[in-house]
Amino acid sequence: MSNNQHIPRSSLTITLAVWKALFLREALSRIFSGRAAWFWLLAEPVFNVAYMVVIFTVIRMRVVGGIETAVWLVLGMLGFFMFQRTSSQLMNAIKANQALFAYRQVKLIDTLMVRAGLEGFLMIFIACILLTSLVILGYSVMPADPLLMLGAFFGLWCIGVGFGLITSVVIAMLPDLGKIIKFIMRPMMIISGVIFPLSSLPPQIREWLMLNPVAHGIESMRLGFSPYYHAVPELNIGYIFSFALGSVFFGLALHRRFAIKLVTK
């Protein structure tokens, strides 16, 4: 195949072409990587949430802070998964995509950006499925302040991206520290107030727990759903986005600084 006319592509054209190619490749490999992988991709988080909802509504209370428990839990888990799944996708991106760096057009940061985008996309699908299921079960899922709810959901994605960017570098450079990070992340779901209300805790403990931006994001989503929700008094929506901005910037800076070290063996 030869045409001798050759015009070099601009950097932006290359990056956009790479993003498109990577996005389709990642999506394909996530969807078709095993038997019914597409089903488990969506079913796993849905089952996870459904399990919790059943346990809580059957055994425990019907209402949390002015919102029905099922809705309260679904919002919390959606927000938490948005953060957790995005960050863990980025964390593991370097190892998973090593083979792709055979093509010098593909930069490490491209694979992370594409993974973040794809995960956000999948989470929107999962959110639609879960909220539709709630409607079918007879719950009202119309948020009072949709913009606040979506804003907080987006904020949690940004925090996930920032955290994933930073930890991906840390894990690649210092594998031992990576183990500690995973250990610290384990109780994250509990301390972010996904399955019990943080507002029920004494203020001295809350003060510390509310340093965690994920807790702010999850509470904001619930507040956006119902203005009468008894949110944690320390809730600060600006904190989510300043944390997101700071961590994404720091993560990108780390990737810029260690770009060569991260891909060379």
């Binding site: 195949m1 030869s2 045409n3 001798n4 050759h6 592509r9 054209t13 290359i14 072409a17 790479v18 498109k20 190619a21 990577l22 389709l24 490749r25 394909l28 490999s29 078709f32 990587s33 083979a99 792709l100 760096f101 055979a102 093509y103 010098r104 057009q105 593909v106 060569i260 891909v263 060379t264 063996k265």
Partner: protein, 221 residues
Amino acid sequence: MIIINDVYKRYKSERESSDWVLHDINLTIPSNVSVALIGANGAGKSTLMSLIGGVDKPNKGTVERHCRVSWSMGFGGGLHGALTGRQNAKFVCRVHGYEDDIKARLAYIQDFAGIGDAFDRPVKSYSAGMKSRLQFGLSLAFDFDVYLSDEVTSTGDAAFRKKAADSFKKLADHSSIIMVSHDEGTLKEFCTAGILIADGAAHWFDHIDDALKSYKDGRPK
């Protein structure tokens, strides 16, 4: 033309100072000259190859590519096991910016690789020979000035090697190849010049026969 300027390369290791794999490499590979990289196992052939291909960066020095250089083909790198040959081929087309005529290129790759229905099966089910057929087809579907081949031809059968050789000869008027292989016959068939790598240093030979002779004598120069 590819200019390798004062290049040093060593790998990260547990101990702080690992030995230089390559040191003080200064080479100019002219256009339209096919070059064989020759050296013992572990001499640094593949390292030099990945530096030329831009996959790895030297610790010191620069590699300038004044032409279109392919990715380095070999050992199944760059292929995704869970995806089919066709999906992998589409990915490579898109990365290289050939979205418009993707159909024609896919047809060419499928025809060249000659792996039949396996083109639509996951790459992890391929044998080594089938992988190298696909990789070879992939790189030939694009118009590069220099093709990098790391042992990729050695796994193919006789018929495929002949096919590969024929297509390279067709390309020879405006393209060249830089090749790593332990098979003397393959090197002589494709290449005119040689680079002998020994003790971390590289030596240029205008004629492949001199390079091979020097390699066999065990003494560079």
